[in-house]
């Protein structure tokens, strides 16, 4: 098992803030909007340096999405910022009609996704956003794993013409990916080669998959670990190549098992390479209040859950 050294843990939302600031300096067409959460979204540095390119919308997310769509007419590249819940379900129809169907170059940047929002509870812990966004034609869906990757993804999506949903979160997680990485949309990243099982993880579950890989190694299981930072378009080639080798797969995500990464992978496998699969995901429930660690344990989203899923799926291998 490869080692994944890191010098500090940081929140992915701060990676977004850092990426946005850099975009402000390098791309004059980038503008930002926020619905009364600039602190939570770490947009302060961008606003300070580029006040004329920032639009405070107030607590009016539907209006924010429409304004962002309008700003693209005239060549601007708007980045909207609010919590993932208010970035998706609350404004689904606005995104569907004014952004996705209209093919507008809007970047919907969503923080505090999933259970790791913690104590605020289920009203704010969206676990359905990846599903809603990936069902929209023209939409690209990205869920990076750490600070550096979120920063790189933020910068990369400005150069991608078309609507993007970028999902990140609140807790600090090990910042282990390279600071100088070039983010390629739709390109899965092989983190650790292995032969016994494929673990496909996204977002905060990528680090949990690395921890699980170490636990599995101690038990003599050689896991291949892949970071699926782009849910749509899905890197089917990378997934099929790995699964052909290992013969079984575990998907891991901070999302409902309905509509998430796991279902996207299952569709690919069902059509092209039927393979035993286990899902590390929330089992069609809402979340609740608690610390992020408590919630990830209770809802089965930690390294032990991945280890257990690996054992289940390996037992199903022919």
């Amino acid at each position: 098992m490869k080692d994944f050294p890191y010098s500090e843990s940081k929140d992915t939302r701060s990676g977004f803030g850092a990426g946005l600031l850099e975009l402000g300096r390098t791309n004059p067409n980038v503008v930002a909007l926020c619905a009364d959460l600039v602190g939570s979204l770490k947009m302060g540095d961008f606003i300070k340096e580029f006040p004329e390119r920032f639009f405070q919308v107030g607590i009016a997310e539907a209006n924010m999405i429409g304004i962002a769509a309008g700003l693209t007419i005239g060549g601007k590249i708007p980045f909207t910022g609010t919590f993932a819940n208010f970035s998706t379900g609350r404004v689904y129809d606005q995104i569907r009609q004014s952004v996705a169907y209209s093919g507008k170059n809007v970047k919907i940047c969503a923080s505090h996704a999933g259970l790791t929002l913690g104590e605020d509870g289920a009203t704010h812990q969206i676990l359905e956003d990846l599903g809603m966004m990936k069902m929209l034609p023209h939409m690209t869906v990205i869920n990076p794993c750490d600070f550096n990757q979120t920063k790189a993804a933020t910068i990369a999506i400005a150069d991608h013409e078309g609507p993007v949903y970028l999902r990140f979160g609140r807790p600090v997680v090990p910042n282990f990916t390279p600071a100088d990485q070039k983010f390629e949309i739709g390109k899965a990243l092989l983190l650790n080669e292995g032969k016994d099982v494929t673990i496909l993880a996204t977002g905060h579950l990528v680090w949990k998959a690395i921890l699980a890989g170490k636990l599995l190694e101690e038990q003599g299981i050689d896991a291949e670990i892949i970071n699926i930072h782009t849910i749509k378009p899905l890197d089917t080639e990378a997934i099929l190549a790995s699964v052909r080798k290992t013969g079984c797969v575990v998907t891991a995500e901070e999302h409902n098992y309905l509509g998430g990464l796991g279902e996207s992978v299952a569709r690919v496998l069902a059509q092209q390479l039927p393979t035993p699969q286990e899902f590390v995901a929330v089992q069609d429930t809402f979340g609740e209040s608690g610390t992020p660690e408590q919630l990830m344990e209770k809802y089965g989203l930690n390294e032990q859950s991945i280890v257990d899923a690996v054992k289940r799926v390996m037992a199903r291998k022919a």
Partner: protein, 285 residues
């Protein structure tokens, strides 16, 4: 500068043909929304043949042009006819309205690349927000042209329009003219019966808008001066709202003044009855 700059007689000439196009389009596919389309004919004809600086060669960003957004997308027949008659595409394409593989979707869309359409609409209440964004992009681009948006009056029951109203005043989006088609009708009946809007003028004024009334949006002599006045009031720190009184179904006697023709097409006999009231001025498509 408008590419036509038509006088009142020329505008009326176009309006007659647009009304013929509308009733023929919805009749041909036995679906669509003639009522609001007929009621807003003078408004759209005035925008495209007199008021707006625009280029029928069409480019999406529209820098250096006035932009129009139709928020109440169900009145697509009037918009499609006006765009075709202004040269955005051939009038014969109006025959494809609502048919399979057409660029003229039931509600306006960009997906098929129809010139003149900059965003999809139909799900109501979104146009003012989009228009605000386009207006702010103009300011960022140092583009001094204006943005027009049309909504229905029933559409004002959607909450998003009031988010937009609040925002535009707060951010002083003063290169924006929002016209409300104040015909008092919606699908289920008179607006006052379905969900009364109260004192609409006072509402917009309380939100910080400069409000103008158009007594009769189906009369160029009433409409044109109000549009001129609205334009003159831009750039003064306030967004502009026009409450435009119209009659749903105007120009076809049996369709006028009732919500019943909101989304119903005329049958063959009714089409004949309508067309005898509408002079063919620019050749039917």
């Amino acid at each position: 500068m408008n590419p036509f700059n038509y006088d009142a007689d020329q505008l009326l000439n176009v309006a007659h043909q647009v009304r013929r196009d509308i009733v023929r389009m919805v009749h041909a596919v036995n679906s669509g929304h003639p009522g609001g389309s007929l009621g807003c004919t003078e408004f759209l004809v005035t925008l495209y043949f007199r008021q707006m600086t625009h280029d029928p060669k069409f480019n999406m960003n529209g820098v250096g042009e006035d932009l129009f957004f139709l928020s109440n997308g169900h009145i697509s027949p009037v918009w499609y006819s006006v765009l075709a008659r202004a040269g955005y595409f051939e009038p014969k394409e109006l025959a494809t309205f609502r048919k399979l593989n057409s660029r003229l979707q039931g509600h306006p869309a960009t997906e098929e690349g129809l010139p003149g359409i900059r965003i999809a609409s139909g799900s109501l209440g979104q146009g003012p927000s989009v228009a605000i964004g386009a207006a702010q992009a103009k300011k960022l681009n140092q583009d001094d042209k204006l943005v027009y948006v049309l909504t229905g009056d029933g559409e004002l029951e959607e909450g998003q329009v009031w988010e937009a109203a609040m925002y535009a005043a707060h951010h002083k989006v003063d290169n924006l003219i929002w016209t409300v088609d104040y015909n008092g009708q919606q699908i289920d009946g008179p607006v006052d019966a379905v969900m009364s809007l109260g004192n609409l003028r006072a509402k917009f004024e309380a939100f910080g808008w400069k409000v103008l009334n158009c007594d009769n949006g189906n009369n160029f002599a009433s409409l044109v001066p109000v549009l001129d006045e609205a334009k003159a009031l831009t750039g003064q720190g306030q967004p502009i709202c026009i409450l435009m009184n119209t009659q749903m179904g105007y120009g076809v006697d049996f369709m006028m003044g009732s919500h019943k023709w909101h989304g119903v097409a005329p049958n063959d006999a009714q089409l004949e009855q309508a067309l005898v009231q509408l002079k063919e001025t620019l050749n039917d498509y």
